[in-house]
Symmetry: C2
């Protein structure tokens, strides 16, 4: 197929592009390079089956032109700046919700009928049920980021119902691995590089989170696309485990051979809207035969290794 990937130069997007090319597909990447990195497309750009279109989702006509002739849209572009949503309250809405509407509109004008979407486990707000299944109780949103993803999910579902499209919505836990450029491993690594003798931690370190290795994430997406056939297909994607931030700190420090003094900012949450416990029930995707190859500890170590080998990403933010 000819796949269209928004956010193609991003962390997950670029890993997806490589996997699509490797599976024999052709890919048109779309990225405004605001946070994406050309370096992440180093392999892809050597393939005759890849083309990058530099553009922004706000430019609907450009988006529609770039999408012409494609069979499938992977919408992975997003404002992923979860923590700072309250500092620019319209950004999530504009980039994630309206951006998704523009993608759907461009698909309609090109008669493209299939879309896969990168959503988030944050849509469950602060759930009461763990692990949290896809049909958990209707959540109360606690962050603008998750709200914008819920809105995008709804737009996709309503378009699928209304215009005969098929949608695949993936609610990710935190993803890590090669090309990871933000999140707690990034923050901790950057700190420890400058001051290995202490580490500042948001919250109390007791936050419990799930992490999935990016290549496992991409494999799960491929599994769902092959085997799920509803009009709207929603999948949690994560491992069947979680860890405390403190455990993660132990693995990172152990790998780096440092023993910092830990300074906690305090409080149950890292920031307003941070969920102190994320652990998704992934039975639905497991039933289709997928399972992750790396556990959380292995994924975290792999991520630290990537950062060690690619210190240039530390400077880009």
């Amino acid at each position: 197929m000819l796949a269209f990937v928004t956010g193609a130069a991003g962390f997950i997007g670029s890993n997806l592009v490589d996997a699509l090319l490797q599976a024999g597909h052709s890919v048109v990447g779309f990225d405004n390079l605001s946070t994406g990195q050309m370096e992440f497309l180093k392999d892809a750009t050597q393939s005759p089956c890849f083309r990058l279109e530099r553009g922004d989702l706000v430019d609907g006509p450009h988006l529609a032109r770039a999408m012409a002739g494609c069979d499938f849209v992977f919408h992975f572009a997003a404002n992923a700046d979860v923590r700072f949503g309250l500092q620019h309250p319209s950004k999530d809405l504009e980039q994630n919700a309206i951006g998704t509407w523009r993608v759907l509109d461009a698909m309609r004008s090109n008669r493209i009928e299939r879309i896969a979407f990168a959503s988030t486990g944050s849509v469950y707000g602060e759930p009461q049920i763990f692990p949290t299944p896809e049909d958990a109780p209707f959540p109360i949103q606690t962050s603008l980021y998750a709200t914008s993803k819920v809105a995008a999910e709804g737009l996709i579902s309503a378009y699928c119902e209304g215009f005969g499209m098929r949608g695949y919505i993936f609610r990710f836990v935190s993803i890590l691995g090669e090309r990871y450029t933000h999140g707690h491993v990034f923050d901790f690594y950057r700190q420890l590089r400058v001051h290995p003798e202490y580490l500042e931690v948001l919250g109390n370190g007791r936050q419990r989170k799930s992490y999935l290795y990016v290549k496992d994430c991409v494999e799960a997406i491929f599994t769902a696309l092959e085997r799920a056939e509803a009009t709207v297909n929603i999948f949690n994607l994560g491992p069947d485990e979680y860890c405390e931030v403190n455990e993660s700190i132990g693995w990172i420090c152990g790998h780096l051979g440092v023993s910092p003094q830990i300074r906690y900012a305090g409080g149950e949450r890292g920031w307003i809207g941070d969920s102190p416990f994320i652990f998704l029930d992934c039975a639905r995707i497991r039933e289709l035969g997928w399972r992750p190859r790396l556990n959380i500890r292995q994924g975290i170590v792999r991520t630290v290794e990537f950062l060690q080998d690619n210190e240039w990403v530390l400077a880009r933010r």
Copy 2:
């Protein structure tokens, strides 16, 4: 208090304005009069405690100026054109989701901390549980209208969490009564006035729906504002019953003394995104002491009487 009411000249908004004035509050109404009617504010405009600001939610600075000095915002303006969402797919998003964001932004700049919001039972999509409680399973959206309301709910919740506001979100069944200007009673009455010998019905007439009388709806809102104190308070508002469209047709025709031939368009749904069964679990608001005064049949008859006495509304659409 000094209340700010968006959609003040609309069906529910104008009934709310009258009730607020009657309860001794002062009110600033905000409406672009695109679907609202000055006639509905006939009583209110005679009160020295009421002022109407004619404006549109797209004009954020005007909205913020108009809101200055108010204590409480009732956000009741919306594109309520549920059925035709697919004909103008960006309208719901712009008017309902982005409109709500503009309201929240204007509140923030005026340091107004309380908001009540008119949402909809449609946010449950096509639920599996009846009556449907507020914490029903996370729904898949089937209409752009409901998606835009889900997005608005999320924005309100995230602002409440993030900026110390308090929110009251009301998920209405279909509301009817005085000043009702769209929906099946309106359509049926208008048809029967022109051709009492037949009636065209969308779907198969077996759709099951709940209806709440507008004054009962406003009383429920007042009850919640007095007695609910969470950061985000979500209430279903409806009666503890539902009816088939066919029953409603019987009541309308009986009241009008006509016996039309019924012509069904067929299908389970009236239109794409229409939910064939809406029946909300309203135990949460009932526990606060509220109960409706009119049952569905009485509400429908009251609505027909209003239309008979105010045929001018038929011409306005």
